[in-house]
Assembly symmetry: C2
DNA sequence: ATTGTTGCAAAAATTTTGCATTATC
DNA sequence: GATAATGCAAAATTTTTGCAACAAT
């Protein structure tokens, strides 16, 4: 594991990810922090997301319109992607196998992560006849 | 649904997707067909993938290194992504809930698709000490 | 001092699009 | 003939990288 120095930018970026339920992409984080951190660069956001992935501090939950969306909650839990607004949500289901830890896969495959993703229309878009 | 004309390019692209187990991306399809179809354009591959998505002939299974990977088998089934070689595989598991059709989600969420994705190391990369 | 982090601009890489041409109906 | 499909090049995105300046150890 690479050596890391303290970095206030890194801390702020990680905190922004932890403090939102939006499962943000790099752009969202950058736009969120830029006002209070005028010298922040988008490259720094990307570089730190790469660090978070490396250190297993975040998972990439899905890609929406070509943009990776991350989650600081790295425990296995299902997500819902709205095909209308692109929102990514944590969701509850009646399928209790979602969080199953030790599944038996085909011989030779060693899985360390499992992702369950639903695609559909979220409540907000259902009620507003969203036409994205 | 948009009106469609016959197109030999479209047919060839769809056949290429159906005939492989690689869960290909646009580039793979293009490289596969280019030799036998020298006037094929990458833009045509992308445009036709867009058509296939629209008509639900394929699903986007995941993104690997920023590239969308598609599957002509649109029945729900789990996939495995190798974090080493980037290969995408159909996989069997002992979790029989994977193919559950009608799950109860949080109120207001209407899902029409479900994707189950495992991340890990595939048999080939396990045996060759892949260091990608 | 050494090495990690950052901003900036440039570069990669994937995907989309405008437009003239060709194919299908 | 009308309209859909395509090639090509250019554009739009997202993400990565080279490099000089700066910060942390």
């Amino acid at each position: 594991m690479a050596k890391r120095n303290f970095s206030s930018k890194r801390n702020a970026i990680y905190k922004a990810v932890c403090d939102t339920k939006t499962h943000p992409g790099a752009r969202w984080i950058y736009d969120k922090l830029k006002p209070e951190m005028p010298d922040l660069s988008l490259a720094t956001v990307y570089r730190n997301i790469a660090v978070f992935k490396e250190e297993n501090m975040v998972n990439v939950v899905c890609s929406v319109n070509g943009e990776e969306r991350i989650d600081s909650n790295t425990t296995a839990h299902p997500h819902f992607v709205c095909s209308c607004c692109g929102g990514v949500y944590d969701i509850n289901t009646n399928d209790n196998a979602h969080n199953c830890q030790t599944e038996i896969l085909d011989k030779g495959f060693r899985a360390d992560k499992k992702f369950v993703l639903y695609h559909g229309i979220c409540p907000k878009c259902s009620s507003t006849d969203c036409t994205n």
